[in-house]
């Protein structure tokens, strides 16, 4: 088996047994990136020399018997995490020249656990998008193809580069962030696993802010167990983030093997949407069957405010974004366009630096927060957000976890769904509620559609109960036996 095909668990075992070295593992991934990134555009910045230096240090640690959980494991880091000395763009031209002088808490924890960083993964600009088409550094190509077609598909978004890199075997795992579905939807589109943890589980310090009350960091990897290994290394209290939770980090890896016997799994009626494809419905039924077969009890539940999740999201997230992105003014960091005076400089800098989707969201956010409209839009949205949380609280009094599809479709073609913003937003219909309520949710690859494209199932859990999410996800993974691989991957198609 090729070194780029290993899971993180297998790679860690191979490194410990000295079957191969961390330098060999990093070099294999550097070579895969050199071969495929020019085509896939999964990375904005690649750091092969840094990766080899970190791998060399990892080999020394292993030789000294001082290996940590991720020692020598090569990862892709979404270019939204500040990395000291390595350019961090958020896929925006306005941050093109930005080299952070400090490290985000999550990436610092990964480095402390011995991880090797291959480079900074592409994303939708400022994580605003569901297709990776809004990147200021070009779109990412999904390594999967429809059977018999060479049409380029999107990898989903916003963590599209992270997902494409992991699916194409350019990295063993990746860091993503999820605000409305940005880890789970790309995971579903590329046939891999990804979890958005509970709000507060991972520190947001050093992550370029999009919508601060929703943003959460999480891992993408090829197995549920690998996600558990990565999340354990990322999570934990951080005094630098005032919303970081002071809670111990459980053994997620053990939880992934726990099974579902005796668990009550909720099936929300409102996720059966008009016009949903029969294939998605059939996969959902399969998931229900798999969990029942393994001893779970299936319970019909209602989340009555589900349909309002998207419109609430498209008020709350832009409002927070318009405030967060006010800092990009061409004064202290980032790109600047000179103007006639200070205000003109701000306006020209922001007009040139932001792409169309970012401008749209800043404009919407500015409007819904402006005098006279705040109560009608923003305050009302916050109240309905409270009702969405109440739906989950009531449901979780009856069930231990909730099973839904991850996305309403498989990966779509580049250029599709671009006619108007709302069509694109509908991609997030199944994923937005979890971040609005702050609960954890995971996507697991569960099958292929008729065109041979991967589809994911989503598991939603109680606040700070990622263990049950991993337990259910692990059970789905074992039952699904998903073994599909993309058409484009390191070492060629299988």
């Amino acid at each position: 088996m090729s070194l780029t095909d290993l899971t993180i668990a297998e790679a860690a075992a191979g490194l410990a047994a000295k079957t191969f070295s961390a330098v060999e593992l990093a070099a294999a991934h550097n070579a895969a990136i050199a071969a495929l990134n020019p085509r896939l555009n999964a990375f904005i910045t690649v750091t092969p020399d840094l990766a080899l230096a970190q791998a060399k240090a990892a080999d020394e640690k292993i030789a000294a018997g001082a290996a940590e959980t991720l020692t020598g494991i090569p990862l892709a880091i979404k270019d939204l995490f500040c990395t000291a000395g390595v350019r961090t763009t958020a896929a925006s031209r306005i941050l093109e020249p930005f080299v952070p002088p400090y490290e985000s808490t999550v990436t610092a924890k990964l480095l402390a656990a011995g991880a090797v960083f291959l480079g900074k993964a592409n994303l939708d600009e400022f994580a605003m998008g569901s297709s990776n088409m809004s990147s200021g550094f070009g779109p990412v190509e999904n390594p999967w193809k429809r059977a018999g077609s060479d049409a380029k598909l999107v990898p989903g978004g916003s963590s599209g580069g992270s997902a494409a890199a992991v699916a194409a075997r350019l990295a063993l795992g990746a860091m993503g962030t999820d605000t409305g579905g940005s880890i789970r939807q790309p995971a579903s589109f590329t046939g891999i696993a990804g979890i958005k943890p509970t709000y507060g589980r991972c520190s947001r310090y050093g992550i370029v802010a999009f919508a601060s009350s929703l943003d959460q960091a999480g891992p993408l990897a090829r197995t549920v167990e690998d996600c558990a290994i990565l999340l354990a290394a990322m999570a934990g209290f951080d005094p630098k983030d005032s919303t970081s939770a002071e809670r111990p980090v459980p053994d997620f890896r053990a939880a992934a093997r726990r099974g579902v016997k005796g668990l009550r799994i909720g099936i929300p009626a409102e996720y059966r949407m008009d016009g949903m494809s029969g294939e998605i419905e059939a996969l959902w039924q399969k998931g229900i069957f798999w969990l029942r077969e393994q001893g779970a009890e299936i319970v019909d539940i209602s989340l009555p405010h589900t349909k309002y999740g998207l419109p609430v999201y498209y008020i709350v997230a832009p409002a927070e974004a318009s405030s967060n992105l006010a800092r990009y003014d061409g004064v202290r960091f980032g790109a600047r366009v000179e103007g006639e005076d200070l205000i003109d400089m701000y306006e020209r800098t922001r007009a040139a630096g932001f792409g169309a989707e970012v401008k749209r969201r800043i404009m919407i956010g500015t409007y819904v927060l402006s005098a006279g409209y705040y109560d009608a839009y923003y305050l009302r949205a916050q109240k309905i957000r409270a009702l969405i949380l109440r739906d989950f609280t009531e449901a979780f009094a009856k069930v231990d976890a909730i099973l839904t599809p991850t996305a309403p479709s498989a990966a779509f073609g580049m250029g599709e769904k671009m006619d108007d913003p709302v069509t694109m937003y509908l991609n997030d219909v199944f994923t937005v509620s979890a971040p609005l309520a702050g609960v954890p949710a995971m996507s697991v690859p569960a099958g292929l559609d008729a065109q041979g494209l991967p589809l994911g199932l989503q598991v939603i859990g109680r606040h700070f109960d990622e263990e049950t999410v991993f337990a259910v996800s692990g059970a789905l993974e074992r039952a699904a036996g998903f073994s599909g691989v993309p058409a484009v991957m390191a070492g060629g198609a299988a």
Binding site: V99, P101, S213, Y314, I362, T366, R380, G438
Partner: protein, 95 residues
């Protein structure tokens, strides 16, 4: 509720984004589509519901009011588009 071009210009001014002629019309259409979509929120009865501002579900934590870093002016200035000595430089504001 539908935004006219004057309102789009006003929002752009508040957001400090310079818009050129046709961009205003394009954004006007897109913003109205989004506002039309979110209009369905008016169906929901929110009487007596407290607004939820965040996902944290905990009281804001306060830290001790002490200075725990500093003396890193050079690092902070390292990304400045323009600087004058140990200061950020901007176009003249006061005539």
């Amino acid at each position: 509720m539908s935004l006219d071009t004057a309102t789009v210009r006003r929002i752009a001014k508040l957001a400090r984004i310079r818009l050129e002629g046709e961009e205003i019309l394009l954004l006007q259409g897109e913003l109205n589509a989004i506002l039309g979509y979110v209009e369905q929120l008016n169906e929901v009865d929110v009487t007596g519901v407290e607004p939820l501002s965040g996902g944290a579900r905990m009281a804001m934590r306060l830290r001790a009011d002490v200075c725990d870093d500093g003396e890193i002016a050079a690092e902070i200035l390292a990304n400045a588009p323009e600087r004058a000595g140990m200061f950020f430089a901007v176009p003249k504001v006061v005539e």
